[in-house]
Assembly symmetry: D2
Homo-oligomer: 453 residues x 4
């Protein structure tokens, strides 16, 4: 619950079946809502090359309704869900839709570029102006400029990829194509799917599953997939580096049902729980979990040690942003409103609490105190990933190191902060071993400081 914010999801499609393009993109985005809840947008290309779009602050279900989707008619389209922490997400909603010498272009992107400010500054010196804070806008300017020197949009994209230092994925739409791009290390995921004669690109395969789209394969690091009426073609834009997919996608970001680079996310989480049980067992009466992020690992932990599971936290499923804040009341009702402890399950027991990861430790501290108040004899925290010690340059919303309260703290300090009787993290090796189905290596920079780019 108290963790890295997720950061943006993208979806694209080229329809050859007469499907309701905007509706399919809508459901695709909806199934990836967990990747970004601040804004959403869809841009479609009608047959005449006119690009219509709707984008605004809010959830997918808030930004769109039947009428708006019906107005977005087209045979191709791209969409985006935004994770954004500033005051006005609507001003940064994607896709970015521009007009340039070759007509229209739309672009949706996720991930992060460590040199975004340098690139922006250089472009400004050449006369570019910017209206958003999004890297996507900067990249759209880079591409449109390169386009004048190359005969195809994909060559233009390939030509600028060496400039982009970071981990990202993007979908680009032009009057006749929909294009998917994945960074040279494959840090951010992107998959290709197919339904009958239509082709799809998505950050996560869960979107394919929801729509019964067949997963074809992951886009390769440094690859550009160009889809037009004839189907997809592939271009290795930059030499593929050794794959280094973000391990935090498996830990927390991605949907449990998604398959990234051969590794099912749920299975990774479950195995992280088992590995955690092997590395840091504890004698306890019950395994409980932070709902819902710790559940998969708790199943693995429980099974490995044979300790029964107990769902000791009951969530109020109506809890949301429009709950009136109890300012000025006497007590802190907030956390209660979201979560109740089932006293009978906790009283007099030794409890292991499993969570998938820990950023600030504040949620853990509150939960530990709730459990103690409910009569737990002892509370042991087990975190199914390593301790986060470094910033992320590639799009994970990890705070800068100086703000990362726990970055420098040793384990004992953290334990003390949470108030738990004991605290253990899973080792980096334990994490990686849990992802043994994956067909490449991992970026664990936020855990170990080893930055691929």
């Amino acid at each position: 619950m108290d963790k890295y914010a997720d950061r943006c999801g993208i979806f694209g499609m080229y329809d050859n079946n007469g499907f309701h393009t905007s509706h399919l993109i809508y459901y695709g985005l909806f199934s990836m809502q967990h990747r970004g809840t601040e804004a959403a947008g869809i841009c479609v290309n009608d047959s005449q090359g006119i690009f219509e779009y709707v984008k605004d602050a809010g959830l997918v279900t808030e930004v769109f309704d039947d009428m708006k989707l019906d107005k977005l008619q087209g045979h191709a389209g791209i969409g985006h869900v935004l994770r954004f922490e500033g005051p006005d997400p609507s001003q940064n909603a994607q896709p970015i839709v521009i007009r340039y010498t070759k007509g229209r272009m739309a672009l949706a992107m996720n991930g992060g570029l460590k040199n975004i400010e340098e690139i922006r500054h250089e472009l400004e010196l050449e006369g570019a102006v910017f209206q958003t804070m999004e890297a996507a806008e900067v990249v759209s300017v880079l591409i449109s400029r390169a386009r004048n020197k190359y005969s195809t949009i994909e060559e233009a994209i390939a030509s600028i990829m060496p400039v982009l230092k970071g981990g990202y994925a993007m979908v680009v739409m032009t009057p006749r194509k929909v294009i998917g791009v994945r960074d040279p290390f494959g840090i951010r995921p992107l998959s290709l799917g197919k339904l009958d004669h239509s082709w799809f690109l998505s950050s996560e395969t869960v979107a394919f599953d929801e729509l019964q789209i067949e997963r074809v394969r992951d886009v390769r690091p440094g690859e550009i997939v160009v889809i037009n009426a004839d189907g997809p073609r592939s271009l290795q834009a930059v030499p593929s580096e050794e794959k280094r997919v973000c391990i935090y996608e498996y830990v927390y970001y991605a949907h449990a049902a998604s398959l990234i680079d051969g590794q099912e996310v749920y299975k990774a989480r479950y195995e992280m729980g088992r590995n955690l049980a092997k590395e840091a067992p504890v004698k306890a009466d019950a395994v409980i979990w932070v709902p819902d992020s710790g559940l998969a690992a708790a199943c693995g932990y429980s099974e490995q040690l044979g300790i029964p599971m107990l769902d000791a936290f009951a969530k109020n499923k109506y809890y949301g942003n429009n709950l009136v804040k109890p300012e000025g009341l006497l007590f802190d009702h907030r956390i209660h409103m979201k979560l109740s402890v089932i006293r009978s399950q906790v009283e007099g027991k030794d409890i292991v609490v499993i969570d998938d990861s820990m950023v600030h430790g504040t949620t853990a501290a509150i939960l530990v105190s709730l459990l103690r108040r409910a009569g737990a004899r002892s509370v042991h925290l087990r975190i199914a990933s390593a301790q986060i010690r470094h910033r992320c340059d590639y799009g994970a919303a990890v705070p800068a190191e100086e703000k990362l309260a726990l970055a420098q703290a040793d384990k004992e300090e953290v334990r003390e902060k949470t108030g738990a009787d004991s605290l253990e993290f899973l080792s980096r090796e334990g994490m990686e071993k849990a992802c043994s189905d994956a067909d490449g290596g991992f970026c664990c920079a936020c855990f170990d400081g080893n930055y691929p780019v």
Copy 2:
């Protein structure tokens, strides 16, 4: 998921501390949102005996905002969340607020009366007119008429209780009192709480826990609790019958953290799962559950048999009413949008699926087919309550018997309908045994046809 709808929650308070009355009622109702999501309302009594109210269709968080709560100033108040299946819930929102000879009266009620139509008809013959479909309006007329013959409101209420045939609880507010009433069999729950010098009434104790209100006791069957500035007084309105609290409150209705008549709801569900394991064990690789209604029983079932739990269903937590309906698209996307199956957890396994109860069997059928499609070797359904065979007269939204598809079906027919490899229900004895902390008996009429009233 596919089950009896829950039916209404009530909350009342008399403040002697200078608390924000309307805010506390708001949070109390919010924590009981699961009891009714169609409409919500709050009525407060300012010091001059003027009753201000807001009620409308929607969730608690939709009907109220900061501004509306701030306008509802008063030292006493009552609130209601409505479960309603008709086309326009706003027309039936409670509290009912009336003016009569003695001034103002507000009333909020839950439960059901089997003779409501007769009472209404008799009142109509005497010249009464009605503007809603709610029993609460009828009861408010009965009370106001009786009030002319008795010197106190509580005597008036006591005088009409023998007329009301059913299971119910209500809170009544008059210019100087807030009153709680529970039916003679105690079929519907009602609890008394205290915070400093202020007093509270609530359908469920979870509302007290959220607000750190001390649970004092359950209101007794047939009791009237009258709260005024001096605190509560008790009146045994009608001779208390043997207590027969609705067992379905433990099975599904109530919040897991609530304590009803001495029995914690979660514990009852957990024990139902254990009893189910004893009565109907199965050799399987994993215990999974229908999220989230089957989870507590699944924990018990798993622990009893030592079969590991697997959270094979991943819910989309953004799923809600404003999701655009995929009408006209090619496939049934609806269920997918709400729930995904984690294929790796299911493939090639023998699975037990636990749910708390079964009304129509349609959800079960869909889940079974999803599991089969994901590669489950066998799927065994275990229901942690008995088979529902009868209508409810006391406020549970059980369909009339002729519409209760499964009422007459034998177990094999039901199994066939769901497509499961095997199906077992918990026995009535197994249910009752699971509630052994309760200080009375149970109404199991929807299971066994034995109606207390």
Copy 3:
């Protein structure tokens, strides 16, 4: 602008043509929006005798949209626009829809009853309870009780009319009829219309004109018009008194295009202007008017004296309730935001300002000061009705006498308050003479204290 608030409009229809009933009622109400802007409601009777309704606070165009109107299917219906000054108009929206011994009844009413509190109190003593502040609710209870003693609803209505002391009109809908009722003095207007085989009732004929419905006639004082599938029948419920239609309908309430009891409203206003010119001429350079209420009388005044008209006040037509209030700013921007003075038209001129009536005189005072600031040499106020000196018992929102600032003031005091160089009112005779097409007498009680009832 600063005047008696208008009070409620009613509309009813019985369709034999397959028209969109709810849509026609909607447009009928919309064309009478000036009679009440606080709430609106429509109730229709589908063929099975089920009454569906929508009513809420707001303008007609705010309460209804396409979807809501489409849901209101029926062959008969009634509607209401409410003028209400309390805090929550939604709680008093009409029609009142009740269930009683004979099934459903809906009722919409305008006007006022001086003995409403006595009637309500008596009913309460007999056990009635009330949920609104509306006379309509009280009358619906009276009718439903009487209905048990009479074999038809119209007889029941006739039987209670002697009890109702006041000026009113109402439309009543039962499962097989739509009924129009006008008080014995005809104080409030009500007209009957016809379009092909369908029949209509409306407070004002402007609603008929909009919908190209043929005006058949005014309902007579004390008459009940009963419409069913066979068309209308008439019943003289109480002996018709000498007609005394509210003269303020001609002065301000009604729409200029309406025809009430034979007298066109616009023509009455124009003639009031002419009569005012004859009674109180002034030597001036220009006739201006308070927009838009004084325009018709200004035309008459200008024509009579041959003084040219000047539209010196320019209104901001976007001015409305959602304009942010300039609290805390340095100056009173409010009046400016609504109205600008055209300086060139005013500077150095002697000006006559015409308005239709005066309640508080505050608006007049502001306008006089705006004109002086713009350089007017002299400002003469001429009011095209008499001085209001008494409360209204029959539904005009005239303040109680003690709050009627000008009630006791003599003309010179009022002139001083407004800051005008001179001030004259039209005489009562001048008003009545202007309505010479009317087929009866007038209620001028608020002007002369002569109450018909």
Copy 4:
């Protein structure tokens, strides 16, 4: 009513008094709402050079509320109301807010550039991309590029003005300045105002009057006014051409109370009416007008010929966009809903109808037919401006010539289309004479094809 759409208004201020900047801009825009109703926006500069803005589709009162204005804190700001005919005005809302080498810049602009597409294309060739259809975005790119070559923003603006071929006005905000710019011919108006130590720029002086801001003077053709903490400085950016203010501002665009280049708008309209009476008198019983656009000219026409005025059209003031459309009903209710004819004023009379201008003639045709149906003996149309025969290049929303139905038609054809008994337009000379207070010449290009640029 059926006429050239108005096109955009701009407002800017530099506060040295501690005023509520965003509130004052809000009221300024609100008073110019008639210049553009599709979108509105405000951008403010807080003391740290951070630019906050809100812009969206809708009226000023719809886009902003108290909370949004309160968040817009700053000592300087600019605002815009947009007139736009495309499908999604929100995508073109101004101000345009950009980041470039020198930090932030915001720009709001009205008017039109005939070479906008050429400029845009040239910039695209140099690598620029665009996200809106607005000239303002293009100009902001031009300025930001020029800024690199000049040491001040005003020099940069001056350097690009020769490129802009058209009629326009703009306000530009940089971290330390607010700048007003008017095109070399002064086709679009712009005024400078002062309140205490604070300075203001506005398309129309009505905004100043509303806020009791002192009008200082009109910005001169080709002038740049630079306001900073020390007050305004002037720069004659390009040699001032002979002034050619758009005469259509006087005919229809501007608010009647505004003063443009020395000429009050109302007075111009009144005199156009008088001149029309001299050029094209008619023997008639009454002068009526198209509400509200024809009123001022009708006053002049009536006074000149001594024919009395009659307000024969009654508008429904609640008419607006949210009125449900009567599609599928039997008759055309639309025009009725907006406007009623007062039959008594029209029947058997010879009528002159005055309007300010005529674009398509469709509204005129409907009004003529309404008057005939109401019994008018004859209907004479008099238009207080010349016949529109040419497109506008400078921001008036005149249709292209080929779509301008009346452009090629001779007067008799137009008369026939409207169904009037006679039709006359005011001569160009008559229009210009009516504006004799103006301190320069006029652009009458849409009337005579004589384009200044």
